[in-house]
């Protein structure tokens, strides 16, 4: 078996009376695109925040690259590229300042690649971040997450910020390349179709519990009904019931 990039065991986390993660265990080996799916509030973002060390486990352990992200933030974070759901890049920075600032933290930063991404994403160097549109901000965030060629790329709900073109062409192509290079991608989404297109493995999370995890093909095979392979959407409805079926964000 390949070395595990992410190793979570028996992770539990409550916020007040709400149980966000309930004894979650998850081992993700290197070199694949993992889709984390679930309805809004299922616990996807909480799980990702634990991986980044932004939350201290209440019980259970979290290991990324075999390291504890709370105890060793430098060791873990310098090997991760992260695009947050909030996309809270400092508004006062210009795009070129943002690039210059961020590259200082990552020894593996690839200037050529960063410039290539900037041109592909059509980001004006002199533009202030706060003047960018939501989609452009997401592209800038993606640039920062990609340009140091991280071993693990974590995208929290990228679809909520990226427009359909970026989503289909760029994101799909980029994620594929990363996986082919032996690196790992973990992305969360409530849009099951999109996950179906991009991910090799799917982890389904519902009310803080993992209900399903495995290679996409194997999951579909297991849920085969007659001749036709079911869609992820249909599988989701069978597993967690139609009441919890994810839909577009309101």
């Amino acid at each position: 078996m390949r070395e595990a990039v992410i190793d979570v065991s028996a992770l539990t986390r409550r916020f007040g009376g709400l149980t966000a993660l309930d004894s979650v265990s998850l081992v993700l080996p290197r070199g694949a695109v993992y889709g984390l799916v679930g309805a809004n509030g299922a616990g996807k973002t909480t799980l990702i925040r634990h991986l980044l060390g932004l939350l201290r486990p209440e019980s259970g352990t979290v290991r990324v690259f075999g390291l504890d992200p709370v105890a060793d933030p430098v060791g873990v974070l310098s090997r991760i590229g992260y695009l947050s759901e909030e996309n809270d890049l400092p508004g006062w920075m210009r795009v070129d300042e943002l690039i210059r600032y961020t590259r200082a933290f990552y020894p593996a930063w690839d200037d050529g690649y960063a410039e290539e991404l900037r041109q592909t994403f059509a980001l004006e160097p002199a533009a202030k971040v706060k003047t960018l549109s939501k989609g452009q901000k997401a592209r800038a965030g993606l640039l920062l997450a990609l340009a140091h060629r991280p071993e693990l790329l974590v995208l929290d709900e990228p679809s909520s910020g990226l427009d359909p073109i970026v989503r289909r062409d760029i994101l799909g192509a980029v994620l594929r390349t990363i996986a082919h290079e032996g690196r790992t991608v973990l992305f969360s989404s409530h849009l099951l179709e999109e996950v179906e297109q991009v991910a090799d493995h799917v982890t389904m999370i519902h009310q803080g519990r993992i209900v399903l995890t495995g290679p996409l093909a194997a999951i579909k095979e297991a849920h085969r009904a007659g001749e036709r392979l079911p869609s992820l959407d249909e599988i989701f409805v069978t597993r967690v019931g139609s009441a919890a079926a994810p839909g577009p964000e309101v």
């Binding site: 007040g16 009376g17 060390g53 201290r56 933030p73 310098s78 947050s84 920075m93």
Partner: protein
């Protein structure tokens, strides 16, 4: 909530309950002050408001500002933006534009009117302030109406709103001030102000209408052209050498520039005062410069409170934003960058000050007083000392500014809202308490020093700081936030700096008033350690959030905040318990409209049928009756010899006798005279045998009594006298027998006279032998006094052959300090040696017995 009016009213009410809570808390503090210091509510003089008035009025003006912000929607919008700050979401409601403008204006006007009504009922009338009752209220309403109109208008350029609003409202203010100056009657003021309300309403309605239609004028063309010019400048910069350098740049750009920017805005106004001052008013020039030098630390304290928020978009506005939290840096490195960024802020702000001051002094031709004062100082202290002091003061100001910027970062970095708000409230309540309670706190300090408790307090404070730092260090080490090596280096560095500062202070501070251990305390407390090292701990806790406890209820939040606000009050109350215990008095009378206290000792042998002598003993400056009773042991002797002794209390905090040319002196004389009346009415006192004596400032007062009540007081005694009035002040020529005791090693009131070390600017003390000779001349004694040795360290000088047998005696104690010979020793570091060669109390009593008032 069926109507638009109701909805808008509800919206304006939301989330401002804390203002009422804060106001209630403040009222509690004021109530405590009123109970503890009842005198503060009465006017100190017959003219003018009582000193407490500003402290009562301040919260009302704060709420005035708060109302301006709330009712103009200024709290939710970006003041500098071109767009209207009227909330755009209201534009889509099915309501007319007129209603959108009208309701917030009406609610605002009602709120302002009620605020003024409350001010009148709670402050103006009870305090008897001389303020008109109607038009200030109308002014408040008009002021708000114009603020609303100007805030809701869209503008062509960013920041224009602020400039226009400031100019317009200042003009309105200026007109009102001019009217006040020319004493325009109140009805004219109302006639000027009231018609502005409809004007402001129409302006506001127009503003909301334009904003609703999205008509935002665009004046950015000019700026864009300027921007092009800036683009042409070369701005290619290489990569940062390290993550730390990048993060420091980030901190500087995010918040570091604020302090220098605010200094750049303030300095021109402050230094403009120099141009008004001119060289003829040297005091004004020096005070202006002092103000300028104190501005950076004060602004830093102000700036530091505004930097806690990290990202308003974040759900938890006080938390670390994911962008910051996912920096691949340790928490210690992130804090280090903040400290460094603050250092650059400090340096930039002070660079501005250092450039601006000489320019302003040259431009306004006001160098003269500065050069003169420095010259005097160099003459008195020597060049090396002055240069060293200046360098030290400058470094201290730099350090202080930086400390103000960083010392409370740990609170902001925890990301806990209640902690941050409580911290701000705590600082505010300390500021507020310093005003009315400052004198009282000072007298507690003096008392602590006089009773030697200050040693324990100093040791306690140092111990507290070091143990908190040690606890934080173990936490830092256990959580592996900082390496053991760094911890040891920081601790060693801190120790070296503290020792160096102590040595420097030891060399610079020459006054005997400050013991060395207080200097050590200053050195230990001045160099930051505990709170700074708490910052990485706080950031780590915020960055890697622990499981949250169940959400805190509002009640709990309020409880905690009240606890923290109440802490200074409780601390002061706690400290004052021993104060009340020690400062024992037995009675009080009202004199000159003030309550005056005294401590009376009646001997157990007292018999109403037999007249007894009365001894009045006056305490020293900053001391109190019970302390003098303890030191002088007059009560023990009174018990033994069967006379009454009374220890009256001086006034103010710290307590003192107003031996100077002010009005307070005659109040003190009247009090003592009325006290004699009161005691004579209650006890059978022999009118020929009333004597006065005192220590230090009390002895100075005794001299005053010999010149003002010489028909009632038979003889006087003085120990370590502080004569702050000149001999020529005394116009009374009646001989009064006098006995004095003075040590040659008295550091506070020198035997040979000269500047008082306590008030070198104001007080020049006479030589004691000369003073005694003057007294002998007053009593028309012979010119050749008799000198005798009474103990190894004590000589006695007596002028004989005086008129009315009014002898003059001086006991000189070789090596004696500012102490009561033969009495209970005072702390030796403060007052010097207490001799036992002579018992001042008994000698005085023997002298008094021989000198009853002639003719009674």
């Amino acid at each position: 909530m069926r109507s638009a009016a109701g909805a808008i009213g509800w919206e304006l009410r939301q989330g401002h309950g804390w203002v009422l809570i804060a106001l209630a808390g403040y009222a509690l503090v004021l109530g405590a002050v009123k109970i503890l210091l009842p005198g503060a509510w009465e006017p100190a003089t017959t003219e003018g408001p009582p000193e407490i008035a500003p402290w009562v009025m301040v919260p009302f003006s704060t709420i005035f500002l708060h109302f301006l912000a709330v009712f103009s929607f200024g709290l939710g919008g970006d003041l500098a933006a071109r767009q209207s700050i009227y909330p755009a979401r209201l534009f889509t409601l099915p309501v007319t534009t007129a209603a959108l403008a009208f309701w917030p204006m009406l609610y605002g006007a009602l709120a302002m009117a009620s605020l003024w009504l409350a001010t009148v009922l709670l402050a103006v009338l009870p305090l008897g302030l001389d303020l008109p009752l109607l038009w200030p209220g109308v002014l408040a309403v008009v002021f708000l109406a114009w603020t609303q109109a100007l805030m809701w208008r869209p503008y062509g350029l960013k920041g224009l709103r602020v400039i226009v609003a400031v100019l317009w409202l200042t003009t309105l203010d200026a007109i009102v001030l001019l009217a006040l100056h020319y004493e325009v009657p109140g009805r004219w003021m109302v006639a000027f102000l009231a018609p502005q309300l409809p004007l402001a309403y129409f302006a506001a309605r127009l503003a909301v209408a334009r904003a609703r239609r999205g008509e935002v004028p665009d004046g950015r063309g000019i700026l864009a052209r300027l921007g092009k010019l800036a683009e042409a400048l070369p701005r290619r910069r290489g990569p940062f050498p390290s993550p730390a350098a990048a993060q420091t740049w980030f901190e500087w750009r995010r918040q570091g520039w604020r302090l220098p920017a605010s200094m750049a805005l303030l300095l021109p106004f402050e230094l403009a005062l120099l141009f008004v001052a001119s060289s003829e008013r040297p005091g004004f020039v020096l005070y202006t410069l002092l103000g300028v030098l104190l501005t950076p630390p004060l602004m830093a304290a102000f700036a530091a409170t505004t930097v806690s928020t990290s990202s308003p978009e974040e759900r938890d506005a006080w938390g670390v934003s994911p962008f910051d939290a996912t920096r691949p840096s340790t928490s210690a490195a992130l804090v280090g960058a903040q400290l460094k960024g603050a250092m650059w802020s400090t340096l930039a702000a002070w660079l501005l000050v250092l450039i601006a001051i000489p320019l302003a002094l040259t431009g306004s031709a006001t160098w003269q007083p500065v050069i003169e004062r420095t010259g005097q100082w160099i003459e008195a202290e020597g060049t090396l000392r002055v240069v060293a002091s200046l360098v030290l003061v400058f470094l201290a100001l730099l350090g202080w500014t930086w400390k103000q910027l960083v010392q409370n970062r740990h609170l902001g970095l925890t990301g806990r809202e209640w902690l941050i708000k409580a911290g701000i409230f705590f600082t505010l309540s300390c500021f507020i308490l310093i005003g009315p309670l400052g004198g009282w706190i000072l007298s507690l300090l003096v008392m602590a020093m006089a009773t030697d408790a200050s040693r324990w307090i100093a040791a306690g404070l140092i111990g507290l700081k070091v143990s908190i730092a040690a606890w934080i260090a173990t936490r830092l080490h256990r959580q592996r936030l900082v390496s053991a090596r760094t911890l040891v280096t920081v601790a060693a560095g801190w120790l070296v700096v503290v020792l160096a500062l102590y040595r420097l202070l030891d060399w610079l501070v020459t006054t005997p008033l400050l013991p060395r251990y207080l200097l050590a305390l200053v050195a230990v407390l001045a160099i930051p350690l505990a709170r700074l090292s708490a910052a990485p701990l706080a950031l780590a806790g915020n960055r890697h959030r622990r499981p949250a406890r169940p959400a805190m209820k509002t009640g709990k939040w309020v409880l905690r905040a009240v606890l923290v606000i109440g802490l200074p009050v409780v601390a002061i109350l706690g400290a004052s318990v021993p104060f009340f215990f020690l400062d024992r008095t037995t009675g009080a009378i009202v004199s000159s409209g003030e309550k005056r206290e005294y401590l009376l000792h009646v001997p157990s042998s007292y018999d109403r049928a037999r007249p007894v002598p009365l001894v009045i003993s006056l305490h020293g400056g900053g001391s109190w009756p019970a302390y003098l009773e303890n030191t002088s042991r007059w009560s023990e002797l009174a018990e033994e010899q069967g006379f009454l002794v009374v220890y009256p209390a001086g006034s103010d905090a710290p307590k003192s006798w107003h031996v100077g040319r002010g009005a307070g002196l005659m109040d003190d004389v009247r009090f003592l005279s009325e006290l004699i009346d009161t005691l004579e009415a209650a006890y059978n006192i022999d009118p020929a045998r009333i004597y006065a004596n005192g220590l230090s400032n009390g002895a100075g007062m005794t001299f005053v009594l010999s010149c003002t009540l010489s028909d009632r007081i038979a003889a006087v005694g003085m120990v370590a006298a502080a004569h702050s009035l000149p001999w020529s002040w005394c116009k009374d020529e009646r001989p009064v027998p006098m006995i004095a005791f003075h040590g040659t090693a008295d550091a506070l009131t020198s035997y040979h006279g000269g500047r008082s070390p306590a008030f070198p600017q104001r007080m020049i003390l006479p030589s004691i032998p000369t003073w005694t000779a003057n007294w002998a001349r007053r009593n028309r004694c012979g010119t050749s006094p008799v000198e005798s040795v009474v103990a190894a360290d004590v000589t006695r000088l007596e002028y004989t052959g005086c008129a009315d047998d009014a002898a003059v005696v001086l006991y000189t104690v070789q090596g004696g300090g500012h102490t009561w010979p033969g009495g209970r020793p005072m702390p030796e570091w403060l007052t010097g040696v207490t001799s036992n060669g002579v018992d001042a109390t008994r000698q005085m009593w023997a002298f008094f017995r021989e000198h009853p008032l002639p003719g009674k």
